[in-house]
């Protein structure tokens, strides 16, 4: 084994030798921790301009209470793309931020695996996070048994629909069984509208549909075992899921050429009257319906029926991690705990809090409130682009794409998926 840091440390030295670098802190990147009594923290996040000021305000409040100075740097952007790259480079090339926000599942996992994020179990005990935070969310921030992060929000995926489109097609109530959903699709299509607006560019959005179909055909137990690789994918339940998946495309229940569409566009179709519903999380109420100048009362939300008990939906977690090399882990943990207080969540206008007492405002966000009161309290399974490492998730999606285009039969797709999982487990 070679120590990477030493190697890159040499790089830094060579640059100085080249006479270009007016060198200030020579050994700053050698991984030494700064003094433990430090009152300075740096928080790195990806919030955009609609929420960043709220966060800065709260962090300031924390600073006043604790006599700390916290810098908040944000790199907004369509999420998983640039932010992890930047974070990674900062951690590799230097000390990195003390605290950073990150998605759970396999996006956050590498940082814990590489031991760049601190094991937070002592702080879980100290602050009682285990009892305060929704356990399913804690699960999403636990990696190979290591509590590598503190969950902050948990977002569940449901069906968001236009009441007008459902009414026009004669669909009186949201479907309660999978058969009813198929019936509704047929009626909607007949009324001249694409039922489900979904787009497969980047893979993940169409994955929402497939993971639902898999939950429906396999049921919770088998589904979980498939995800962990404890059961083979080469089995009838998986073939059924792929067969249904293809059916959705063939029947035109999803848009033509769905795999090439940008989800950021297609997800809004249900607001624009181009599709009847979409498969997404509660953020769509503020950023889809209300941003489009429409009223929440004209839309509704339902849980996709799986015909199983418990009825589960997919979801994902976002949270905060603490740098393993931070100069002041106690203060960083205190900041995390502060950020997870119900009052802080309310001030941050969070609609999918992991702690009780911070539900969305019923008056302004009635649908998110409705979701938070019911489905959000149920267990969920991790969305599958985060259930697998990115590489396997991409292979998974490539198989789905082939199925939708008719290049791979559902039976072959199941076999190929088993190969992917087998190779991953090796």
């Amino acid at each position: 084994m070679i120590n990477r840091r030493k190697f890159l440390g040499l790089s830094g030295g060579a640059a100085i030798a080249a006479g270009l670098a007016a060198c200030t802190g020579t050994s700053s990147d050698s991984g030494s921790t700064t003094s433990t009594g430090s009152k300075e923290l740096r928080l790195f996040t990806y919030e955009d301009n609609s929420t960043i000021d709220l966060l800065k305000e709260q962090v300031k409040k924390f600073d006043t209470q604790n006599g700390t100075t916290t810098t908040v740097d944000s790199l907004p952007g369509s999420g998983a793309a640039v932010y992890p790259d930047k974070l990674r480079t900062e951690l590799l090339g230097g000390k990195g931020p003390d605290v950073w926000r990150i998605w759970g599942g396999q996006i956050g996992a590498p940082f814990v695996k590489a031991k760049q994020a601190m094991d937070l179990s002592t702080y879980y005990q100290k602050y009682g996070w285990d009892s305060k935070i929704n356990p399913a969310a804690v699960e999403g921030m636990t990696f190979d048994g290591v509590k590598g992060g503190m969950p902050f929000i948990a977002l569940g995926i449901g069906g968001w629909y236009s009441k007008a489109a459902f009414a026009k097609a004669g669909v009186t109530a949201p479907p309660k069984t999978y058969a009813e959903l198929e019936e509704a699709n047929a009626k909607l299509l007949k009324s001249g509208i694409t039922p489900l607006g979904t787009g497969g560019k980047y893979g993940w959005h169409v994955m929402r549909l497939f993971e639902y179909l898999l939950e429906t055909s396999a049921g919770p137990d088998l589904h979980d075992k498939l995800l962990t690789g404890d059961e083979s994918w080469d089995r009838p339940e998986v073939v059924t899921a792929f067969t249904n998946f293809k059916k959705w495309q063939d029947q035109k229940w999803i848009p033509d050429g769905a795999v090439g569409l940008d989800p950021a566009e297609v997800e809004l179709w249900y607001v624009q009257g181009k599709s009847a519903y979409t498969i997404t999380g509660p953020w769509t109420e503020a950023q889809g319906i209300q941003a489009g100048g429409k009223k929440s009362e004209d839309f509704g939300v339902f849980e996709f029926p799986t015909d199983h008990d418990p009825l589960r939906h997919s979801g994902f977690v976002e949270g905060y991690m603490i740098n393993a090399k931070t100069g002041n882990p106690d203060m960083a943990a205190a900041l995390l705990d502060f950020l997870n207080q119900p009052e802080t969540h309310k001030a941050l206008k969070i609609t999918a809090s992991v702690v009780a007492g911070a539900e969305p405002d019923q008056a302004t966000l009635p649908l998110s409130y409705e979701w938070a009161q019911g489905p959000a309290k149920k267990p969920f399974y991790t969305i599958q682009d985060q259930a697998f490492p990115k590489k396997e998730a991409d292979q998974y999606f490539a198989i789905q794409s082939d199925v939708l285009q008719g290049k791979t039969s559902p039976a072959d797709a199941a076999k190929k998926m088993q190969d992917v999982i087998k190779a991953m487990k090796k």
Binding site: D85, A114, Y202, L261, F397
Partner: protein, 284 residues
């Protein structure tokens, strides 16, 4: 004396490009995940794995197609535009501006615009085809393996015509007008003048334009990344995007770097005739 002129650029170049590139080169012989503090040296294993990676094979083929199309078409179009816009046309500055404008746009906007145009149900392209009665040609351009690469190449051509146009325009200024006057007196038509004066006069520019375009096409990354994300499936992966996915998204920095090394080697081979032609013309 020559070194005084060469030194500043070479120094900056070596420190900020050659040196970082070489220190990354090392990782192509390791299994580094791009994140951990430690790694193992694996020798040539990353290189040996490449031919067995179906995506690498597909990416190489895509790169070849991409290279041929996005070199030939923009170069021919750019040359045509340069010649025409160097001649007797009204509104030249304006026309030159328009054909160059796409090259200035940030790629996120290019991806959005073409995504809107290509949208199968609501896009302008299919709407146009349906309007002129060619309904059967309307299709999900970016949503199927068979057309996705072609669709990105059209956008690339749109984007890149300005570059050869600009270089050719500059090169045309080096051709003496006297040559054309003499040819006109001799009764040569415009075509003859183009083939016998313009084309030979542009020979050094051809070398530069073609060499740079070929390298650019091998390096292609951000346009495809923004437009299709390598999809559907892996249908539009090229070496550049596949390297990026491996280095940054699959935690296989060693393997991804090895792909980068291969692209660089290919480019070096491409550069041999170019550098030869340049150094021979001016034998020291």
């Amino acid at each position: 004396m020559a070194w005084v002129f060469a030194a500043p650029a070479l120094l900056v170049y070596v420190v900020f490009l050659v040196y970082p590139a070489l220190s990354s080169l090392w990782f192509s012989f390791t299994d580094w995940d791009g994140l951990s503090a430690t790694y193992n040296v694996v020798g040539l294993q990353n290189y040996k794995d490449m031919p067995h990676d179906p995506v690498v094979v597909q990416a190489a083929i895509n790169n070849l197609i991409w290279a041929v199309v996005t070199v030939v078409v923009p170069v021919v179009l750019g040359l045509t535009l340069a010649v025409v816009l160097n001649g007797k046309v009204r509104g030249k500055p304006f026309l030159r501006l328009i054909f160059y404008t796409p090259a200035v746009l940030p790629l996120v906007s290019v991806a959005s615009i073409w995504g809107w145009l290509y949208n199968p149900q609501y896009g302008a392209i299919n709407a146009f085809l349906r309007a002129v009665g060619l309904d059967s040609l309307a299709q999900p351009w970016l949503g199927q393996d068979s057309t996705a690469l072609g669709a990105t190449m059209v956008a690339a051509i749109w984007l890149r015509v300005g570059f050869p146009m600009l270089l050719y325009l500059a090169a045309l200024q080096g051709i003496s007008p006297d040559l054309y006057e003499a040819a006109t007196v001799d009764g040569a038509g415009k075509w003859q003048q183009f083939w016998h004066i313009t084309m030979p006069g542009l020979r050094p520019a051809h070398y530069v334009v073609i060499a740079l375009s070929v390298i650019d096409s091998f390096k292609v990354f951000d346009l495809i990344y923004a437009m299709t994300y390598g999809g559907p499936g892996t249908a539009t992966q090229v070496m550049g995007t596949w390297m990026y996915f491996n280095v940054f998204q699959y935690n296989q920095a060693g393997y991804g770097t090895a792909i980068a090394v291969v692209i660089t080697l290919v480019a070096v081979v491409v550069s041999v005739p170019y550098v030869r032609s340049q150094t021979k013309e001016h034998a020291v």
